[in-house]
């Protein structure tokens, strides 16, 4: 058994960590946080040059063709560094949708552009309140023309193209939903930036008005493709969340060792020690669940749906838990704009909602466990 990453994969992780420590300091993140740029263009270019954007994209489509375990390793580091780039929307959502359902022409057009950093992509799924569900998709598609409004769309304001979930039927079944590819720079889509919990990763509203679109995958297959995309993204996001959890724990630990109060390091008080121990426990459980998700993702195992939901829930909880208690360890300083704690707190809480909230994933997990037990 090797329920761990290989030495090569660990080397890649070290490489990514070193690169991000250099190019993605908290100071660099703050440029985006403070609204001075919509994302870190230099970093995005650098990630492309390092081959990180296309690490799981096959070589024939301009990627490194390494695989999903390698992508998990990089995702963890993106989370640790709190990178202010459209990595998850482009690489986990748009690229994965193309890999699963794209035609050869579509793959050839977009995947090399993603790998080289020229194209930013996203998934336009949500329409206001609510979680992923067929009935929450009201935007219509008829004769290759879309009408409706999507929000929030992750990185929608900077994206070059979007995978759009649309209603093409009214039978009340999965087959009512189809996916479309929209070139957002071609006109027909009106984009508006939305303020959001985590300004280091933007959110937008996109209005489609008689907007031309090409189908992605077969008509009526949209819901099944979406489910696969969300499951895969859940595992990849879980690694970002694990990286974020670890970093928040590390910040809390370091501060507890550094800060003296009542004549002692505050890390010598049991109340603080035990809070940090509990953060470690949740981060460890999340890491282990995510490793299982990574195994299922990389082998395309039948266990993927269940593993993805478990990784998603565990990592979401861990990141929220660690980010919140990191601020608590820091006391009043932790609540200031000047300290970096709130960047992780923002990211943790924004990520908890991005692929559907915990409520949705809890439901998914139980359904999938029941299905497995029934089989």
């Amino acid at each position: 058994m090797n329920f761990d990453f290989s030495d090569d994969q660990k080397q890649l992780r070290d490489q990514a960590r070193k690169f991000l420590a250099e190019k993605c300091s908290p100071k660099a993140v703050r440029v985006v946080l403070d609204g001075k740029a919509p994302y870190d263009k230099e970093l995005w270019k650098g990630l492309a040059e390092m081959g990180f954007l296309g690490v799981a994209i096959p070589e024939e489509f301009g990627g490194a063709g390494a695989g999903h375990l390698e992508l998990c390793v990089i995702a963890e580091e993106m989370g640790r560094a709190n990178a202010p780039v459209p990595f998850s929307s482009t690489v986990y959502l748009a690229a994965e949708a193309l890999l699963i359902a794209g035609s050869d022409t579509q793959k050839k057009k977009w995947l090399p552009a993603i790998a080289s950093g020229e194209a930013i992509g996203t998934l336009a799924l949500f329409e206001g309140k609510g979680n992923p569900s067929r009935k929450n998709i009201k935007l219509t598609a008829a004769n290759g023309v879309l009408n409706g409004v999507k929000k929030p769309v992750a990185d929608g304001a900077i994206a070059d193209f979007a995978v759009v979930a649309a209603r093409t039927g009214s039978s009340g079944r999965d087959s009512d939903i189809s996916l479309f590819l929209v070139d957002l720079k071609a006109g027909g889509a009106e984009v508006k930036s939305l303020t959001n919990l985590d300004p280091t990763r933007g959110q937008a509203e996109i209005s489609f008005k008689d907007c031309r679109a090409e189908p992605l995958g077969a008509a009526g297959d949209g819901w099944s493709i979406l489910t696969q995309v969300l499951d895969r993204a859940a595992v990849l996001c879980a690694f970002e969340q694990v990286g974020g959890s670890d970093r928040a724990l590390e910040m809390g630990r370091d501060y507890a060792l550094d800060r003296i109060a009542f004549g002692r390091q505050i890390g010598s008080f049991q109340a603080v020690k035990h809070m940090l121990a509990d953060m470690y426990v949740s981060a460890t459980l999340a890491r282990s669940n995510s490793y299982y998700g990574a195994w299922a993702l990389s082998t395309n195992a039948a266990e993927l749906p269940e593993a993805a939901a478990a990784a998603r829930i565990s990592a979401t909880q861990a990141f929220q838990h660690c980010a919140k208690n990191n601020i608590q360890v820091h006391g009043g300083m932790g609540f200031t704009w000047e300290f970096d704690c709130h960047m992780y707190y923002r990211r943790a809480n924004a990520m908890a909602l991005g692929l559907g909230s915990l409520t949705y994933w809890e439901d998914q997990l139980i359904d999938r466990m029941r299905k497995k037990n029934a089989a």
Binding site: F3, A256, Y292, S314, Q317
Partner: protein, 413 residues
């Protein structure tokens, strides 16, 4: 990343599986499987006898105490082979609980500190289950603070004379031998005046009194020593070095990697899958689903954390103190899961025993659970271990550290 055995591991697994399949006491398999919640009871058999017979059979075929050296009754296996054995032994491994203190703690301590002739005399019958050992550390005044113990050992000729009391001693009522931590010098700080021995539990002056637990069962005992004589050659380690000797014992306590940790979750999920509530099936209920999902990811997180540790073992690495999270998470989870299962039963949840739902399985779990959170280190001690040894935070301030033991104020248990 994979879950595959190496060719050698696969071969070992196949051999172990074949032997277990041909030799295990299969008539008890179902009962053992269902008693995985700290309540191992066989209806029509004496569990100690069944356990001893299984252990003897294993020893005769070379499957006892796998990682011990052969000359002391073991097999000389690698740690990963031991884990594979535990996986294959499955529910029959429940029977080894009777020997867990002896095999996991007393044996390794003897191996590290006893004279060679004693090792050869005492270890093989311990490995084969013919002799059962207990560990006499805790006292009314020293539970988490083990070094606060007061049982005295005074030199008299070639013997030591023991007076005092131990408590929470698992299995003392059926043990043949024990390892005993005593105070030999009360005038020095507490960690410096301790000495370790092993003794025959049938020695004159040893009195074992079972403790009735909150659950109604009696797994633990008080043990009283009145002028018990132990020959000096049964001393383990130097006089005054007992604390270091006991650390060897305690470090071996977390050798249970790979053994399945009971969380109560599979039982709860199974129960909820068929349970009808007033408004329909429990498993369709939003609140129930949310609770289940939250416990599901803890249970799977523990399972895969343990697999990561096994993977490290497989590569010849030594898993570290990070594995102490198992007991910490599972302990309170069992308690919460049991509480919730009874909540779902409504008013009838109060009924326990054979008349209760599922023959009182969750009620028994509820009443045993508090012990799980205390034995082998309380939740608070486990958190300290993680904070200090994994995260590198400062140790607790100990005001009695440099004070002679007989000058430390004492009160309470």
């Amino acid at each position: 990343m994979n879950f595959d055995d190496t060719p050698q591991e696969a071969e070992f697994r196949a051999t172990a599986r074949a032997w277990i399949s041909a030799n295990a006491p299969k008539q008890y398999e179902d009962e053992l499987r269902k008693s995985s919640l700290g309540r191992t009871v066989l209806k029509n058999a004496n569990i100690l006898e069944v356990a001893k017979a299984w252990q003897k059979k294993k020893a005769d075929a070379g499957w006892a105490c796998l990682h011990w050296p052969k000359e002391y009754g073991g097999r000389g296996s690698s740690p990963i082979e031991r884990v594979i054995w535990q996986q294959e032994e499955g529910p029959f491994g429940q029977l080894s609980r009777m020997f867990i203190i002896g095999h996991g703690m007393c044996g390794p301590t003897m191996m590290a500190f006893a004279r060679e002739e004693h090792k050869r005399t005492y270890l093989p019958p311990l490995a084969s289950g013919e002799k059962v050992w207990c560990q006499l550390f805790s006292e009314p005044a020293g539970g988490s603070d083990v070094a606060g113990l007061r049982t005295r050992a005074e030199k008299d000729g070639d013997d030591w004379v023991i007076n005092g009391q131990k408590i929470w001693t698992s299995g003392a009522h059926y043990s043949d031998y024990g390892i005993l931590l005593t105070r030999t010098d009360p005038t020095v700080p507490k960690h410096k005046g301790l000495t370790m021995f092993f003794l025959d539990m049938k020695s004159p002056g040893v009195e074992v009194r079972p403790i009735k637990q909150a659950s109604g069962a009696s797994d633990f005992n008080e043990v009283y020593f009145t002028n018990v004589r132990i020959p000096d050659h049964q001393r383990l380690g130097e006089v005054g070095d007992g604390w270091n000797v006991s650390l060897t014992t305690l470090m071996n306590e977390r050798s249970a990697i790979g053994a399945a940790v009971s969380t109560g979750f599979p039982e709860l999920f199974e129960y909820c899958s068929s349970l009808m509530l007033d408004d329909g099936p429990a498993i369709e209920d939003r609140a129930v689903r949310s609770k289940l999902a939250n416990w599901a990811v803890k249970a799977s997180g523990l399972k895969y954390t343990s697999m990561r540790a096994i993977s490290a073992l497989s590569k010849g690495e030594r898993p570290g103190p990070e594995n102490s999270i198992g007991k910490l998470v599972a302990g309170s989870m069992i308690q919460d899961v049991a509480t919730y299962a009874l909540d779902l039963q409504g008013a009838s949840g109060v009924i326990s025993g054979e008349d209760a739902e599922l023959a009182g399985r969750f009620q028994a779990m509820l009443l045993r659970a508090p012990g799980t959170r205390v034995e082998g280190g309380t939740d608070e001690i486990m958190r300290n271990i993680i904070a200090e040894r994994v995260l590198g935070l400062p140790g607790d301030i100990r005001v009695d550290k440099d004070v002679p033991f007989n000058k430390i104020p004492t009160k309470g248990r």
